[in-house]
């Protein structure tokens, strides 16, 4: 029973990772870049929803779209200003730019909102669902549910809409997509918009579980979610989902049953092992070598 309750909290944590990982994986799939500033978009989302909930007294259901709107605008803005001029540049140049953006957002947040920690208000009531002996907190339930809904919507969008197939085309071959009359720049902007909106949702879920808001809030979940995306196979949407959930479960279980001190080593150790067995992640596509 104890095991099941750890499993549930692992799933809860994993759901948050999964939503963040979706942002990484979509951007990677389409723009072929590692967006290291993604974690800091989460941080901005957390601050926006914090202010919406406390200073402006908005209800949760209004704070979510507010945070999503701000993050979307910010994501697109960053893409236009910092990444778009680098379309032709090497992937390392883009990586460094993303790191620059990440530093910028963190330090801007510190100057704007001070470095002192703020406590995120409780957004979901503290109760728990009793299933026999097992009790699952509403928060965990909401988190897992949100993740599933996001996942389903995204899959439907990608597979069954015109824009979705345009995105898939871009991910496959940008040059060919352009020849087919797809506006590649618009698609990339849209990807950033969706990824950033997801980051805002992740921010609220993250802060609901761990109610603290501070300028470097996004870095660790960012790295973990990036790991999750690679774990599942970067570029693959179901991969990010599976990778996120697995990473959350492994993290909680290793902390519970092995060692709280060594959990990071175990999480990354499992990642190494998985990549050795499946070099492109659990659901990743096989790399084809072009001669």
């Amino acid at each position: 029973m104890r095991f099941l309750s750890y499993l549930m909290s692992g799933l809860g944590l994993g759901s948050v990772y999964a939503i963040i990982a979706l942002g990484y994986t979509m951007v990677y799939g389409i723009a072929k870049m590692l967006n290291f500033a993604h974690g800091d978009i989460i941080m901005i989302g957390a601050y926006v929803s914090f202010f919406a909930l406390t200073r402006f007294g908005l209800p949760v259901l209004a704070a979510v779209p507010a945070a999503m709107a701000v993050c979307t605008v910010l994501g697109v803005l960053i893409e236009r200003m910092a990444y778009k001029p680098l379309r032709q540049a090497t992937s390392l140049s883009v990586l460094i730019t993303a790191i620059g953006v990440s530093y910028f957002l963190q330090n801007a947040a510190q100057i704007l909102w001070s470095s002192s920690t703020k406590v995120f208000p409780a957004v979901i009531s503290n109760g728990a669902l009793q299933l026999g002996e097992l009790s699952i907190s509403y928060l965990t339930l909401v988190t897992i549910l949100t993740c599933v809904v996001v996942m389903v919507c995204l899959t439907l969008f990608i597979n069954h809409t015109k824009t979705g197939s345009a995105m898939r085309a871009c991910a496959e071959d940008k040059g060919a997509a352009m020849l087919m009359g797809i506006n590649v720049n618009r698609i990339i902007s849209l990807t950033f918009a969706i990824g950033s909106a997801l980051a805002a949702i992740a921010a609220i879920l993250l802060c609901a579980s761990y109610p603290q808001v501070f300028p470097t809030l996004g870095s660790m979940p960012g790295i973990k979610a990036f790991t999750a995306a690679v774990f599942g196979g970067i570029g693959s949407i179901p991969g990010a989902f599976v990778g996120g959930l697995l990473l959350g479960i492994i993290e909680i279980l290793s902390r519970a049953y092995i060692s709280t001190q060594l959990s990071d080593a175990i999480v990354f150790g499992v990642l190494v092992v998985v990549l050795l067995i499946k070099p492109t992640g659990i659901l990743g596509r096989k790399l084809s070598e072009k001669v």
């Binding site: 990677y28 590692l34 910092a82 001029p85 680098l86 032709q88 540049a89 090497t90 390392l92 140049s93 883009v94 990586l95 460094i96 730019t97 790191i99 620059g100 953006v101 990440s102 530093y103 910028f104 963190q106 330090n107 801007a108 510190q110 100057i111 790295i223 990036f226 790991t227 690679v230 970067i234 060692s259 001190q261 060594l262 990071d264 080593a265 990354f268 150790g269 990642l271 190494v272 990549l275 050795l276 070099p279 492109t280 992640g281 790399l287 070598e289 001669v291």
Partner: protein, 352 residues
């Protein structure tokens, strides 16, 4: 067939020009700094930056071999620095009373470099089976694993010898014993034996190693493997062996840099060598130009000093640093600017 060249021609020879510039630059910088140091013209701020900047230079030269020359994105260079730093600290602490400072520093650097080379080899076996971004994430993972493991390592010694424990400190030390590495708290009261001169010598050694490797058969094999893996394999180059060579040399240079760094501070915690430090070194390498050793040296010096020179801006300095980073990337990758440079270059060629 090429004619035989005299020494001067070899030095100014195109192929070796980068190397000549490197050595001249480092030696000139050393002489200038040393002269200023002796005449008391250096600010205290700058004096304290001399050793760390040489550490980062060595680590960055190593990383450039890995990222620039061999073409594998490595996000775990700080992990190798950590291995070097703490092995060096332990060795130096253990022999603190028996070996004088200078030979002890040399011994520690040698030991740290060899140990990291070995670790680099062991880590390289799984890592180099992967490619591209997957390889990058595994180096990140190893960096984090190394950090996490050292964080749980306790090392002490007394009359009866060296004592080591893991996760919990289980040993007790006799009277006169000293704890060298105290788990997450890192090392304390380390003797500071690193010097700027030692750092600069290490930079020269690192340059010599990397240039000799680059201009050798192995170096060309490494670059061939980077540019086209399959073509390289088809002409009989063992890609995995050449990549491993670059990886191990890069790791051991980071280890040597780590030793120098660790012995420059009386306390050091493992979390210093986290992902951010790896990224910091990567930024030096990318901004200096992939495969361009001189660029790496200059970029390291400038980017390391930049936040220090912006100190008067206080909280705004890292914001400015970030903006400068982004702007450099945008400007150096600007298409029209590049075209301009290209035409300049072409004109220069015609003149020759």
């Amino acid at each position: 067939m090429t004619k035989k060249k005299n020494l001067f021609q070899i030095l100014v020879d195109d192929r070796h020009r980068a190397r000549t510039i490197s050595y001249t630059m480092v030696i000139a910088a050393y002489i200038i700094v040393e002269a200023m140091l002796r005449s008391g013209n250096l600010s205290n701020l700058f004096i304290n930056l001399l050793v760390p900047v040489t550490c980062y230079m060595v680590a960055a030269i190593g990383l450039n071999l890995n990222v620039g020359v061999s073409g594998e994105l490595n996000l775990g260079q700080a992990g190798f620095m950590a291995i070097g730093a703490f092995s060096g600290i332990c060795l130096s602490g253990f022999f603190a009373d028996t070996i004088p400072a200078v030979p002890r520093l040399m011994l520690a650097i040698l030991f740290g470099a060899l140990l990291t080379a070995l670790m680099g080899f062991l880590i390289g076996i799984p890592v180099l089976k992967l490619q591209g971004d997957y390889l990058a994430i595994v180096t990140l993972a190893f960096g984090e694993i190394v950090k996490n493991l050292i964080m749980n390592l306790y090392v002490g010694f007394d009359r009866t010898g060296l004592k080591v424990s893991f996760v919990q400190q289980t040993f007790t030390l006799e009277e006169g014993g000293r704890i060298l590495l105290n788990g997450p708290m890192g090392s304390t009261s380390t003797q500071k034996i690193s010097t700027f001169t030692a750092g600069m010598i290490l930079v020269i050694i690192a340059l010599a190693i990397v240039y000799n490797l680059l201009y050798s058969r192995h170096g060309r094999a490494i670059m061939a493997a980077r540019d086209n893996r399959i073509a390289a394999e088809s002409v009989g180059i063992s890609v995995s062996r050449t990549k491993m060579l670059a990886f191990v040399v890069s790791a051991s240079l980071a280890g040597a840099a780590g030793v120098l760094y660790g012995l420059n501070y009386s306390t050091l915690i493992v979390s210093k060598f986290d992902f951010n430090t790896s990224i910091l070194i990567l930024v030096y390498v990318v901004l200096g130009g992939l495969g361009n050793i001189n660029g790496t040296l200059i970029a390291t010096v400038i980017l390391f000093l930049l936040p220090e020179m912006l100190r008067s801006l206080q909280a705004y300095r890292m914001l400015i640093y970030a903006v400068i980073l982004i702007l450099i990337m945008l400007i150096t990758n600007n298409q029209s600017l590049r075209a301009g440079l290209q035409s300049l270059r072409n004109r220069g060629k015609k003149d020759e």
